[in-house]
């Protein structure tokens, strides 16, 4: 991804690079915003995790302790939940990305001039409160909901299927369903770089549509696929709203534990420790994952 004015010349070696001013104009606002409103809160959270408890002035110096990390390390259910949440997130991200790809493909190559309209059409439902939409779904899927009533009156089942709601499966299905339109967006953005003439050229060379897809479209769209996967995976590790709404007692995720320590227990230090572990763990996982995926793909090009 090196972009030098002359091929082979690294940017740093040319102090008179005319893009330098632009670089700083582009770099300063995000850097400043992130430093003030992300890094500072993160440091606060990290500091909190070493605090014994919430008593006393919050921003005053305190004697740090590792007791929350120690307690977390010795609480098997929490660690298990973290692992399970990470696995769930991997599954959801894989499924959502895979199911989003045909959607992005349709919008990029088949929808023609209507693509922008279709795109907005896909996202507009998300402006309706998630809470209300899930309530409507629960009405359909509950023990005496619409689906079960139809199944029972049609004689297909004798008893209502409880498994449609309030378990881990319901959480996974709901999350995938909710993420598909968003996962399509980076893939769509990447597919936008594919010149349709490449498809024609492939056809001229007697490539089957599948070969054309595999050799031309897919590699070019890979950055978008990776972006989509990350966009779904990372926040899903810490997801708590959906498990709360449809997870019942068996579908809780690590994010619920963190949430509870803040909003039910007023135990910010312990909650911060849990959050820090999730953060560091996810960053490490993503870094390792990217290292495995990227070099090979880039070389192939």
């Amino acid at each position: 991804m090196i972009l030098a004015r002359r091929a082979g010349a690294p940017q740093g070696a040319r102090p008179a690079d005319p893009r330098r001013r632009t670089f700083w104009i582009l770099a300063l606002p995000p850097a400043l915003g992130l430093a003030l409103f992300l890094v500072a809160p993160l440091l606060f959270m990290a500091a909190l995790s070493f605090r014994t408890d919430l008593s006393g002035t919050l921003l005053a110096p305190f004697a740090p302790t590792l007791k929350h990390y120690a307690q977390l390390a010795s609480t098997a259910p929490f660690l298990r939940s973290l692992g399970l949440s990470a696995l769930t997130a991997l599954g959801v991200a894989a499924a959502a990305t895979a199911l989003a790809y045909p959607l992005a493909y349709y919008l990029a190559f088949r929808a023609g001039r209507r693509a922008a309209f279709y795109l907005v059409l896909l996202l507009v439902p998300f402006w309706t409160s998630y809470l209300l939409r899930v309530m409507a779904w629960k009405l359909m899927l509950g023990g005496e909901g619409v689906i079960n009533s139809l199944l029972m009156s049609a004689g297909i089942v004798d008893e209502p299927i409880a498994a449609l709601l309030y378990n881990r499966g319901a959480v996974i299905v709901t999350l995938v369903y909710v993420w598909i339109p968003f996962a399509a967006l980076p893939i769509l953005a990447a597919l936008g770089r594919v010149d349709v003439r490449l498809h024609d050229a492939a056809a001229d060379l007697y490539a089957t549509p599948f070969q054309q897809f595999r050799r031309v479209t897919l590699p070019l769209s890979l950055p978008g696929v990776i972006a989509a996967f990350l966009m779904v995976f990372i926040p899903t590790v810490g997801e708590y709203v959906t498990p709360l709404l449809v997870g019942g007692t068996s579908g809780t995720m690590y994010g619920n534990i963190i949430q509870d320590f803040f909003t039910r227990a007023a135990n910010w230090p312990y909650g911060s420790a849990l959050a820090m572990v999730m953060l560091v763990g996810t960053v490490a996982l993503v870094a390792v994952g990217l290292r495995l995926v990227n070099p090979r793909r880039l070389l192939e090009r």
Partner: protein, 382 residues
Amino acid sequence: MQPWRSRSAVRGSLGLVVVSLMAVACGGGASTAPSSAPTNGITPEPTAEATEVPPDQLTGELTVLDWSGYDAEDFWTDFKGTYPNVELGFEFGISDADIYGKMKGGSAADVFHPYTGWLQFYVDEGLVAEIDTSKLTNWDKVPDSFKAIGQIDGVQYFIPWDWGFSSILYRTDKVTGEVDSWDALLDPAYDGHVSMWDDGPAAVTVSSYIHGYDETAITDDQLADIKAEWTAQAPLNVAYWAAESDLVPLMQSGDAWVAYAWQGAYATLLGEGVPVAYANPTEGRNSWVGVYGISASSPNYDLALKFLDQKLADATSANLPNLYYYGSANGDVMAGITDETLKEAFSIDDPDILETTNFTPNLTAEQRDAWTAMWAEVKASQ
């Protein structure tokens, strides 16, 4: 050139942006201006010698940190009528831990609304001011037992305002016989149809009722037993509930047959025609009281006191039971209830009910941390 990237598609979308921007700019000018923190409200005269401004000419700003939903005008109608020129603003919390956290984290609220169990922390951390009850004209309407609930170490820090019961709510058409004990919540006979409140201290409370533990002195062994008990109970739930709006659909749809519930859910379901009953367990019901306190760092002490006084006034207090099925600390209002559903829900005709009811004691910070951590482990073990 890709057709979907055509200029007209982009133009159309930009048009959408422009239109929405205009709509917001035209309509939302005032709402996007930052509202100033109420630190520049009236400077209170701490000595009682202030020349009294007539109520309808009194101006100022007051911020109330309250539970979501309590900003409804029904809950401050007397204040609005008496002091029409005082601006009232609300910040919201979704739980006691949230409200405590916000007060600790630096909320600029003048008045806040915690519930019994959580009051000790505010005193210990110096977050709440003492209430000068001599300035409350409605104070005499509050029964002594309720007044005592707002006192910590003999000092009146809080004003009781709303209260209610916790007990077992059950579908009479799904449950055979009468439920008369808290252990119904742990009964495997109701597998898949129980709904417990998502709250650690509540779980400890229920266990202490069933086994006769002293709630103010739970030992580590007892806590371990409680954890095991509720870990085994967890699969019996169809789902935990966090707010009454979660519980009501669960019971109405028949997904839940037996639940830990406040009387508000009971009255709502009765009103919907659902066949439910509210138990009178042998161990006694639980009761909780909501209180208001004045922030120790509030610059609007006198105005806050006037607000609290108006909260206890008759019309506001009457709205609690009549519109929302909650009890009021105003004794006159409670004595004047005639609606049958309400009398049923509050067991008004049962003179012994308050004797057998267990009021929630205030937790220490250690208990709070231990019990909530226990509950988090119970939920994570599933």
